[in-house]
Every structure is written in C-alpha cells, then in structure tokens.
C-alpha cells in the first residue's frame, strides 16, 4: 500500500462535479446571451443598413447582346444577315456529369467527337451558370433526335438565338470573312463587358475589320437572380421594379462590291485557282474582290467540325487562302506600263523614241543574254508598241537605264511593295526591291542583272492582285490615287441614317506633262486592239479598253532552255495575269485578274475581265446570283432574347 495513494472520495467528487456543472450552465447562458446580443446588434441596431444591402443583392444586371449590323452590297442586297437558329446549349452547373453528357451527345452525332476536348475546356473555364453553346445551328433532324432524349440530358437545352447567315454562301467570302464563337484568344482583345451576352465575333475579313461597327453596344436588363446568377421568377410574391436598357444594334455596312460582278468573277475562275480585284478608279471602291477556290462561311457560323475544317485546311487548292489580299505573285509583264511611267517620270525615255528589239538583251561586259518572249524579237518599237507587243527587250533596257533605286521609287508611288491600305486585315505588301532592301534582307549587294528582270516584272518583285488592281486604277485615274476600300457607307442602326464615307485620296503620281499619261494609256489600248496580246478577248467591245497581259514564271528556266507548257506539271505552269481599265478615256473600272498556273494572261485571264466590263459598263448580266435562304427551323418569334 502506498501511504500517499489517494482513494476515491465520492463526496468530494460529487461536490466538485456539481460546482462544475453549475459553472458550465452559467457559462452556457452567458455565451448564448453574447450571441443574442450580437443578433440584437445586427437585426435591430443595424437593421436598415442590412435591409438595404439585401435589396442590392438580388437584382443583377443581365447583358442583352446587340443585333449585329447587316452587310449590303452595292445593289443593296443583304450579304450578311442575322437569322434565328436553334442552338444547343449547356449550363455547366445543371449538368451532373459533363464528360458523360458530351460523350453521349457525340454518340448521337449532335456534336462532333473532335470538339469534345475543346468544349470541355470551355466549360471548365467559363462561369458555372453561363450557358455554353455546344452547337450553333441545329438541323430539324438534330432537333428531333435531341427532343426525344431530352430527359437524359439535364442542363442541356435548345435555345433560339440570332445566328449569322451569309445568303450568298461562298461568294465574296474572302472579302466578308465570317463570324464564329468567341475563343479564349479573342477574349484577350475585347471588352468582356460588351461581349458578355454575345456568342459570336468577327474572325476574319470585314466581319473582323469592322467588328466594332458591326457589334454594337450591349444593353442590360435587371433581373431577379439567386446567388448563382441564375434568373428566378419569383421571390415569395414580392413585386420588384426591374429596369431594362435596350442594346444598341451594330451599324450596317454598305459595300462597294457588286455581288453580280463578284459572281461573274468567281464563275470565271471556277475550277481554277486565282483572284479578281476590280476597283472604281474615281473613288477606290472595290467592286469585286474574289479569290477562288472559296468556302462557305456559313459552316463557321454554325460551328465547323474539326474534320470539316481539316478538309478545308489541307485542301491542296487552299480555299482558305486569300489570294487577292495575301497572294504575292511576280506581276510579269503587267508592270510594263508602270515601268514606262517610271521612265517618263524620270525623263529617261521619249515615248516616240524607237528601239530595235532583236530578241535578246545583254548588259555591257556580260555574255548573259536576256531573251525576249518572242524569238527573234519585235524589231523596231517605240514605247506604245513596246507595251502593246509586250516587248521584253525594251523594258530590260529601260530598267537598266533607270537603275533599281529609281525603279523602286517610281513603283512605290504606284503602290508596289506597300500595303494598299484596303479596309480589311491581312493584306500582304509584296516586295518592291531596292539595293537597300537586298542588303537588309540578304546582306548582299544588288547586281545590275537583277534590275533587268525587274523591268519585266520578274525577279524579286512580287505583288498582290489588290496591288495590281490599285496600280491599274492609279494609271486609269491619270495619277490620282484613291485608297482601295470595301465599305462605302455606314448606316446607323438607331437613326437609320446612311452616312457615305468619303473616299481617301493618297498623294498622286505626278508626271511632268499630263499628256504623257495618254501615251502610256494609248499603248495599253493597243493591247486590246487587233494585234495586241489581249485582242481576242475584247473584240467588238463598244468601249475603249486599256489593258496589259502578263505571264509570270513559277518555274525558272535554265539558260538556253525553252518553256514547254505541255511537258511540265500543271502546278508549275506560268501564272496568267491581266490588268485593265475601261473606258480608257473616262475610266469607271480598273481590274486585275490572276489565274494561277493559267498560262498566258491574254487567253486565261482577259476573258474574265471582258465579262465583268460588259456587265459593269453595259449592264449585261447573263447570270444573277441568287441568295439562299437559311436552313428552315427557327423563326423570329421563337427568339429567346429581348429585342
């Protein structure tokens, strides 16, 4: 036994326990009174403060997306409009199993298998309560497929939204561009507040370039919401005054493009690869901007599938490539009138001076012979005839006399090597070489032989069809330079005021004597007359045409080799080029036509220009393109938005 071992003292224990119990009870009362005091403070002392806060809490602003502006062509035909479409949407917070839901939708072919990873990412990054569009436009069959299984897809529903519709489908797509769903990349550049209610944004072409005009301004509507931001209809019966500010629709665009001309251009290029750009030389209005092959922008607004996109992307004819704006080609002989202008500008040639063309040209002290396209040469030619017969030797010599830096200077004034400033993005500048340019680009000095071939539009010189049409327009306007533009007027959506945009005039090209213009244009007119390289295409034209054909080498020939179109593969054949304007004395239209691997400009490219001229100048429209109606289904009455 341990002396000091304590034994259980029931009485003491009980007393202590009782004391503690009483203490605990009192403490509990005190603490609960503390809470009560706090509640009194919140509910009585600060009641009005919290009552105000709770009011502000439950009314939230919901964005109202503006209607996107429409786009009209020169004749007032709608080329981009908004039509209601059935859209498949998913509200993330209402979907118990997002991956499973997407997988099952893909099995039903309501969404594309390839799109599942992208959609999953979009759903994960977005707000839980905000609907994510899965498919932008459902067909009637899709709707039927989904409707019978709707109960299997909680949180997925069909809503009617305004979708973009391009009635002329693939026509003029390289000018119009398209809209598509806003990507994570887009979100970096835009005002998120303005786009909080919008599903679509211009991706390319005018839709992108005029995005700000077309989009308009978001409105808002006060809605009764719960904390997840979801709209609720009732709050236990308490009526609440809710305010709405309507969105301001985007401005409508009016284009210089005439879809009838556009149709002729695209028909003319059908089955080929090429571009047509037609410009009104008095304003810079682009009448036609065609790049073929084309593609249907409606595919993008409806949410293009990965496989459809891959098909377009991997097509060997590159339909997505905008040849008119971004294709840089050696302009070939089409630069000859411009070279003549350069010579006149610097006073190095006399239009009447005759030069003997023997079919070959050599630089002093060099054995290398630059051949003329015509074996044996053209004999004695003056400037006009040199243009008319496209005499290479004449221009070899002219280029050599001018030197590359003067050629560069003069040609830059005509827009070569510079962006034309057309009001749509993505334009390429091409190359107008100079000694300095070669030094910065290749760290090499310029060789005189390189100047010689620039004289016939080969070598380093490249230009886009837009630049060629622009240069032709400058010549047509006798030196006046209007910046090419697709949009000629805007219409305010609210006031319906149509506001024409003033043409933008750039510094003109000046010649010492304005009559010198006529000597060059005379030469170009001879191109379209009997004996000229484009004569067959313009036989019987009741208006005066100034033109120039061109053929650009894709495949370089070795010294002494002969070009044999039949022997080389189609894609290595020469590009056919053609520039023209009419009527030559008072031009209303200037054009550039490019047919890739088309062979000779006179035979492959000129006929397209003829048809466009006849249509534009004489009103001879053989075929008028028909706008197509959007796929049937939704009507405006079905719209799930306030307008």
């Amino acid at each position: 036994m341990f002396g000091h071992a304590r034994i259980k003292d029931h009485h003491g224990e009980h007393r202590v326990f009782g004391g503690r119990i009483v203490f605990a009870g009192v403490a509990a009362a005190v603490f609960l009174l503390l809470v009560t005091a706090r509640l009194f403070y919140l509910q009585v002392v600060r009641f009005s403060y919290f009552a105000d806060l709770s009011q502000g809490n439950r009314v939230r602003l919901e964005p109202l997306p503006p209607d996107r502006g429409l786009i009209y062509d020169r004749q007032g035909s709608v080329v981009a409009e908004n039509t209601p479409a059935y859209q498949l949407e998913l509200v993330p917070e209402q979907v118990p199993d997002v991956p499973g839901t997407l997988a099952r939708l893909a099995e039903l072919h309501l969404i594309d298998h390839d799109m599942v990873p992208g959609l999953t990412r979009l759903i994960r990054t977005g707000r839980r309560f905000q609907a994510v569009p899965l498919r932008l436009s459902l067909s009637e069959n899709d709707i039927a497929v989904f409707s019978v299984r709707q109960h299997e897809f909680p949180g997925v529903e069909i809503r009617t939204r305004l979708a973009r519709w391009y009635p002329f489908a693939a026509q003029a797509v390289h000018a119009l561009g398209y809209v598509a769903t806003i990507s994570e990349e887009d979100l970096k550049h835009i005002d998120r507040d303005q786009y909080s209610g919008s599903a679509l944004i211009g991706k390319i072409g005018l839709e992108s370039a005029y995005e700000q005009q077309l989009h308009g301004y978001s409105g808002y509507r006060q809605v009764l919401v719960n904390a997840q931001g979801r709209r609720v209809d009732k709050l236990g019966g308490t009526p609440v005054h809710l305010e709405t500010r309507k969105p301001t629709a985007g401005n409508d665009l009016f284009l210089g493009i005439d879809m009838r001309l556009q149709h002729i251009a695209e028909e003319g290029l059908a089955g080929k690869r090429g571009a047509v750009v037609a410009i009104d030389p008095t304003t810079g209005d682009v009448l036609t901007l065609a790049s073929v092959p084309t593609y249907d922008p409606n595919k993008f607004t409806r949410g293009i599938s990965t496989s459809e996109y891959a098909e377009l992307r991997d097509d060997i004819d590159r339909p997505l490539f905008n040849r008119a704006l971004r294709g840089t080609y050696p302009p070939g002989s089409t630069v000859k009138p411009m070279m003549a202008l350069a010579g006149l500008q610097y006073g190095v040639i006399d239009p009447a001076a005759v030069r003997n063309c023997t079919g070959g040209f050599s630089l002093p002290g060099s054995a290398h012979i630059y051949h003329d396209w015509k074996a044996g040469g053209h004999g004695p030619v003056d400037m006009k005839h040199a243009i008319a017969t496209s005499c290479d030797v004449y221009f070899y010599g002219l280029a050599e006399v001018l030197g590359i830096d003067r050629v560069h200077e003069a040609m830059s004034g005509l827009g070569f090597g510079r962006l034309s400033g057309i009001d749509v993005g993505g334009e390429k500048a091409g190359i107008m070489p100079s000694a300095e340019w070669k030094m910065t680009t290749y760290k090499q000095q310029w060789y005189p032989g390189e100047t010689v071939i620039v004289g016939i539009g080969q070598g380093y010189l490249t230009a886009t069809p837009v630049q060629l049409a622009h240069a032709a327009a400058i010549v047509a306007a006798r030196g006046r330079n209007f910046r090419p533009r697709l949009v000629t007027a805007l219409r305010d959506a609210t006031t319906q005021d149509k506001r024409p945009l003033d043409p933008v005039e750039e510094p003109s090209v000046q010649l010492r004597d304005p009559s010198l213009w006529e000597s060059v244009i005379e030469g170009m007119e001879m191109v379209a007359r009997p004996g000229g390289t484009a004569a067959p295409s313009f036989a019987g034209a009741p208006y005066r045409v100034a033109a120039k054909t061109g053929t650009a080498q894709v495949f370089s020939l070795g010294q002494g080799q002969k070009y044999n179109a039949a022997a080389i593969s189609e894609r290595l054949r020469d590009h056919a080029l053609f520039i023209a304007f009419a009527p030559a004395d008072a031009p209303k239209i200037a054009i550039a036509v490019l047919v890739e691997n088309g062979g000779h400009g006179g035979s492959a490219a000129a006929p397209i220009a003829r048809r466009i001229f006849d249509a534009y100048l004489l009103g001879k429209y053989e075929q008028v393109p028909k706008p197509s109606a959007p796929p049937p289904g939704a009507t405006l009455e079905d719209l799930d938005e306030v307008h």
Partner: protein, 382 residues
Amino acid sequence: MYELSHEAQEIEGAPRKRISAQASLVRRLHMDGPLLSLLGGVIAFGLFILYSATGENLAQWLSQVSRLGLALLAMVFLAQVPPGWLRRASPILYGTGLLLLLLVAIHGSASNGAQRWLDLKLFRFQPSEIMKLAVPMMCAWYLHGRPLPPSLRDTGVVLGIILLPAALIAKQPDLGTALLVGSAGILVLFLAGLSNIIITLGLVAVGAIVPVGWHFMHDYQRQRVMMFLDPAQDPLGAGYHSIQSQIAIGSGGLFGKGWMHGSQAQLEFLPERSTDFIFAVIGEELGLLGQLLLISLYFAVIARSLYLAAGAQTTYARLVCGSFALTFFVYAFVNTGMVSGILPVVGVPLPLVSYGGTAMVTLLASFGILMSLYGHRRLVGS
C-alpha cells in the same frame, strides 16, 4: 444513495400513482420526458425552417425526416442499453474509431478537398463522427475508477486519449469536428475537477500554440481565420459566407421577412443555407424572435441535460452526461457564433436543425446514451 432526485422517486412510484400511459411508456423506455419534449421542440422547429431553407424541396425535406427517424431509433435503442455495457464498450468503440480514422487517413475518398469519408460501398461513413461519442466515453472510462480530481499523470493520459484522434481529424482536414471532439474530451477533464491552475496553464499554453498552429494550418483554414478578422477584404471569396449570412440575419429585423420570404436565402445568396448557415435563414425569415426562440430551446436542452448529469449515479455516467450536454452547447454556440459573425467560420452544423444525417444521428445517439446513463439508475439506498 444520498442524492436521489424527485424524478427517481417518481419513477419508483409511477405505476402506483397512475401516471398517464404515455409518460409511463417514456419512463419504461428509460427516457426523460422533459428532455424528450425539448428535443422534439428543437426538431420540429428545425423541420419547419428546413422546408423553407431547402427552397421548398420536398424530397430533401423528406430525406431529412427519414434520417431523423433513424436518429430517433438510435436514441431510443441506446437508451435501452444498460450503462455498464456502455461503459465497458467505451474502449472498444474508441479503438475501432481510431482504427477507422487511420484507415481514412490512408484510403479515405476525398470529398470537398478533405479526406473524411470511408467508402463502405453500401454507404459512406465518417469515422470522426464516432469519435464525438467515443472520446468523452473513453476519457470517462479511464477516469471512472480513479480518484478525482485527476492526478497530473491521469490528466496527461486523458489528454493523449483526446489529442490523438483530434489530431487525425484536424489533419483530414476537418477543423470543426476536431474542435468538437477535442472539446468533448476536455470537458470531461473539466467536469472531473481538473484544477483551476492546470486550466489556467492550459489556456496560456493554447495562447502560445496559436502561432505554431497557424504554421501548420491548411490554406483554406488560414483563409477562414483571416476572413473572420476582416470579412470585407474578399467579399466574393473567403469572406462571402460571413458577409452574406450577416446580411441575411440583419435584414430580417425583429420579426423577419416571413417564412419562405427571405430574399437572401430563397435567392441563394446565402451559401449552405440548408446546412451550416441555416441559422441565418431563421434570422432572415423569422427575425430576432425566431432566433431567440431557438436559442431558448437550446438553453433549456442544455440545462435539462446538465441537471440529469448532476443526478447520474456513477462517475462514468456523470462525466459522459455532462460532456454530452456541454458538447451540445458547443455545437449551438459555435454555429450561432459563426453565422452571426462573432466566431470564425468552421464546419459545425446547427444541432438538430441543419440538413444532414450524420450530425443528427450522433447528437441524438448522445442523448440516447445520456438517457440510458440517467434512466437506469439503481435505486439503492433510498
């Protein structure tokens, strides 16, 4: 024995005095009538507000009713278990609980970023809930035969019994439950007569541990503490719960906006409105008066339980009953305190009111044990 309460005499004399059949049934089932009615009051109040707090979700409400039925069955069942069995079962329960906690720590399925649940295929099970009962029972079991107030050595052992599971639970991390489990054990020590000196020293030590504990806290736990100190600093993030619940309560005023008319709760600004923050729904819809009614009911339950604890016969019974009574108080105080913004937000439900079955079963089980320990008194020495 010397201290026999009036009720005990009444039980003895009940059949002869022809107390109503209902009351006699209650007593034959070893239940305490007043406590049972008070609990019934709290539960009825809870179901009333829960219907509104779930947004008139009848399915949820009915599932709560069915859980409640299960919890009541557990209570009635436990009330029948002889106190001696309960005492002897204490170490087994504690050991099993500890084992399961370790299992959770290794295998538990993560839910809400925290490992709390053990997936038993048939149902998911939260071993930390067992510990809310097992820890105080184990502490009382250990102290039962020993002289009280506990010696320093016994105090150390009991602290070990408490801290081991509490640490495992805190690590899950579930600060709310760790707090409840820890406090349940500490309360046993307190009731056992732990000297005031040790209590003071302990409080000082806790004060010193706070900075150390801060270091070991999970980010979201720190966030909650920081947010408690300044809720306005992150109104849509960590402070959201606190701000929204205070708006809800404050805008309720004296009489409330009316049942099912609380804009904060009905429009779901109030987070976890049917679970941890249901007290704010009461404040918003039923006002200060509604909250006072519930707090009064809680106090009555606590007072009655303490009264029963004081009347229990064995050391084990007294300690367990007292601890359970005070744990119920801790629940009520911590939850109402956090919802009204005087305590940091910790995951403690409003007892017998919050939606959710686990806490409901544990709480009613503790009252079942409490009634068993009180109701099976041997009337020796009267």
